[in-house]
């Protein structure tokens, strides 16, 4: 895997830090070196949360706007707010029931940025709790060639970092992954 740059974003309480840990620990388990920059403190207070994740790359903690390969967003507004981080031909995975705002559609087309949208919160509620929407989104994203993280390793990692929620998280991963594979 060559260097991969991801921006992970959402609001405080949507599990952005957990999602970041899931992705970065999986990358390490796959033998990659990782550098992550997290937001702390304000996240509990309903603020926007953003993590910069660099797999196999430089040691600079932040990703420059216009250079990220992947944007993982727990919420449509936060996806929009941070679209500027994506490079041309980048991919945005967003937890949303109706994609992104049409206003940006023509620009995304021009920049060949692909939008992959999934109503992960709804699917999470069907599983019993909104809290696993982030794990569903992770499964959905790794089914795409833009995020080549092995699903087996992801499964092992989610079980390691959240042993108590293991069964539910594995179901969530599966739902997301299958949805990703289908389209």
């Amino acid at each position: 895997m060559s260097e991969l740059k991801l921006i992970i974003t959402g609001l405080g309480g949507q599990g952005v830090v957990f999602l970041t840990r899931l992705i970065s620990n999986t990358a390490v388990a796959l033998g990659q070196l990782v550098m992550v920059s997290e937001t702390h403190g304000m996240s509990q207070r309903g603020g926007s949360v953003i993590s910069h994740v660099k797999i196999g790359g430089s040691e600079a903690p932040l990703i420059r706007r216009g250079t990220a390969d992947v944007l993982l967003a727990m919420e449509a507004n936060e996806a929009l707010r941070n679209l500027g981080y994506l490079r041309r031909k980048g991919v945005v995975f967003v937890n949303s029931s109706n994609g992104l705002h049409p206003e940006v559609g023509e620009h995304l087309k021009r920049l060949a940025i692909e939008t992959r949208s999934l109503p992960a919160s709804q699917q999470a509620m069907e599983l019993g709790t909104a809290a696993v929407a982030n794990v569903i989104l992770a499964g959905f994203a790794v089914a795409h060639p833009a995020l080549p993280l092995d699903i087996e390793t992801l499964r092992r990692t989610v079980s390691e970092i959240a042993p108590r929620g293991r069964e539910l998280n594995l179901k969530a991963l599966q739902i997301g992954y299958q949805a990703g594979k289908k389209t």
Binding site: G41, G46, L62, G66, G84
Partner: protein, 629 residues
């Protein structure tokens, strides 16, 4: 060998334990708070005898750790950069007296700032105090530098600073967990040895110690000239411009140059004070110009004796305020390089996309008090009682967010709400301003530095109302215990639990009442009595302690008395509740005709019932989903 992801602060903590620190103290402060927690975690994992303490404030933390280093034990103290200001008195004195066991001070700077009152540069404090400073670029390097720092500290018997910044403290980097042989040492072999001319030095001896300190710095400079922590990265460069960089900014600069498609020689400085001048001079001699890239101040840049070929903050090439993000660094590098005739790659940002996004007017998400926060209820009651015209000195903590309710007029530094209330009283007595003065301070902040100004105010006859917002913890930074809690940093039982009401009474305050801010009418009544006392001829300062635990720290008190609410059909969207109560769970509907409750984040504290004076927010009598709007 296990590779794991480690938070920067935890990497620092790991190094402190691995390198044999026996006493580590701290006061919570973003971005440094995870250091002490990391020490507790790794001392347990490595089964080391380490005393870890959340001290009452940074000055005490510094002095406690320093005493340990005077006995010969290795010690450390951590804080945020403004916490170093609090510890500055012992810092400057200690530089002259020196240490015995290695003593490392870890002030975390916050370029931006993201969550601080200043963007000050602790390396410049080190310069002023004549204390050597290390400037790590990554969590892995911080771990290495702590080892160097402790060894240097012991060899030359000086305290040493290791200075991380936010993007290192809260970075997570993969590294090997086991890092080679760890230093254990034998604590029973050391003792404090008396030497009054050193440890109790009076001015005549201070001069001698100063001369010795100056010599130590000369010796340390020679060592830094040879240190592997200072090196040239990327020789064989095509251009006659170079970069001198340090800290996180070094890697950001490297990344930027790569993206700009330009190869420049970079001198990485890991030891900015005392600066290895010969190394730097050699580097500059071979070039036409250099750009100095460091954060957040000019520690390296201003130590250069000859700046004719130097670009940086001092000549305006680098912005003098704000974080050196990749975009900022790329912009000033591109400008400087282009002006020197070097071609650079175009910026990858797409302006048209950003314009489209900006035109969407996405909701701004400023930090706010949580749903169910006891501070909101206290502020709401205070505003209801004293009105918008009162003067509300505020302080540092979650409750600084009382600005959102316009119930905090000032925020300067820890404990200042009390001193400012005192100062405003004295000034207003001279100017004839009769507005009520209502100061607010948290429990942890009060213990940190609110007691002393309260004594001053009582003694000099000031009059104001002080509300101590006691939510039983140090909330903003992650629920660290205070001396009013019954447990210590590592979970052990506290020997004594301080009583804040008793403390306040001991300061001489004649009106001390403890009340629950959730009981709106009663709390307002107490505030009214407090103001009466503050204004009475035979009265004085009135202290009201708003006693209710933080809803995140201890949710049981809310969970035991859940009060689900609904907004009735009659709501007319006047927005009073949104403006005056400001709970994140209450917002104006999309068509702005009414307010709605976001039941995903509502904690059912029921406090908003008092927020609608028209009676449109009421307890939910029946629990059918359909009745919830």
């Amino acid at each position: 060998m296990t590779t794991i992801n480690v938070l920067g602060n935890e990497a620092i903590a790991l190094a402190l334990v691995e390198q044999g620190c026996r006493v580590v103290t701290a006061y919570p402060g973003t971005p440094s708070s995870e250091i002490l927690a990391g020490v507790v975690k790794h001392k347990k994992r490595l089964d080391r005898q380490v005393y870890a303490e959340w001290s009452i404030n940074e000055k005490v933390a510094f002095e406690v750790a320093m005493a340990a280093s005077w006995t010969g034990l290795r010690a450390a103290v951590a804080m945020k950069q403004v916490g170093l200001n609090v510890a500055s008195d012992p810092l400057f004195s200690a530089a002259y007296q020196g240490v015995k066991g290695g003593f490392v001070i870890i002030p975390a700077d916050d370029p931006g700032p993201h969550s601080s009152q200043t963007e000050q540069d602790s390396r410049l404090t080190a310069y002023n105090a004549k204390i050597p400073a290390y400037d790590p670029s990554t969590p892995a390097e911080a771990r290495v530098m702590v080892k160097h720092a402790l060894a240097l500290s012991e060899k030359h018997e000086v305290p040493v600073i290791v200075r991380p910044t936010t993007r290192l403290c809260h970075a997570v980097q993969s590294m090997e967990l086991e890092n080679g042989p760890a230093r254990n040492g034998n604590p029973s072999k050391v003792r404090f040895r008396k030497n009054a001319q050193r440890w109790a030095a009076t001015p005549k001896f201070r001069h001698k110690l100063h001369v010795e300190l100056n010599q130590k710095l000369i010796d340390i400079t020679s060592e830094f000239e040879q240190s592997p922590l200072n090196y040239v990265d990327g020789s064989a460069a095509a251009h006659r411009i170079g970069v001198i960089a340090a800290g996180v900014a070094f890697n950001t600069a490297k990344q930027s140059l790569c993206e700009l498609g330009v190869k420049l020689p970079i001198l990485k400085i890991g030891t900015p004070f005392p600066l290895p001048q010969k190394l730097v001079a050699e580097f500059i001699a071979g070039l036409d110009a250099v750009i100095v890239i460091e954060e957040p101040g000019t520690c390296i840049e201003m130590q250069l004796p000859n700046r004719t070929r130097v670009h940086g903050r001092l000549d305006g090439a680098v912005p003098a305020a704000g974080e050196l993000t990749p975009e900022v660094v790329a912009t000033f590098l591109a400008k400087t390089l282009t002006e020197s005739g070097i071609e650079v790659n175009a910026a990858p940002d797409d302006a048209a996309l950003q314009q489209a996004i900006d035109s969407l007017d996405l909701p701004i998400r400023p930090p706010r008090l949580c749903p169910g926060c006891s501070h909101r209820s206290a502020f709401y009651a205070a505003k209801s009682e004293f009105g918008p015209k009162a003067i509300y000195p505020g302080d540092i903590g979650c409750y600084t967010l009382g600005t959102n309710l316009r119930a905090v007029d000032t925020a300067v530094d820890m404990g200042a709400s009390v001193s400012l209330a005192d100062g405003f009283f004295q000034a207003n007595r001279l100017t004839g301003d009769k507005r009520p003065i209502v100061a607010t301070i948290g429990d942890s902040t009060f213990l940190h530095s609110g007691i002393v100004p309260l004594i001053n105010a009582v003694h000099t006859g000031a009059r104001f109302v002080l509300i101590i917002l006691d939510n039983h913890t140090t909330a903003m930074t992650g629920f660290q215990p205070t001396p009013a809690n019954d447990y210590l940093a590592d979970g052990a039982a506290a020997t004594h639990v301080v009583s804040i009401p008793d403390l306040v009474r001991s300061c001489g305050v004649g009106f001390v009442r403890v009340a629950d801010p959730f009981d709106h009418d009663q709390f307002r009544g107490v505030l009214s009595e407090a103001q009466d006392y503050a204004q009475a001829a035979d009265g004085g300062i009135a202290v009201v302690i708003a006693d209710r635990p933080c809803v995140l720290y201890e949710p049981t008190s809310v969970r035991e008395a859940l009060l689900p609410v609904i907004v009735t059909e009659e709501c007319d969207g006047c927005r009073y509740c949104v403006e005056a109560f400001e709970c994140p769970a209450i917002s104006l509907s999309a068509d702005r005709s009414r307010v709605d409750i976001d039941y995903k984040i509502c904690v059912e504290c029921g406090q908003c019932i008092d927020a609608c004076y028209k009676g449109f927010i009421v307890p939910e009598v029946m629990t059918t989903e359909e009745q919830r709007v």
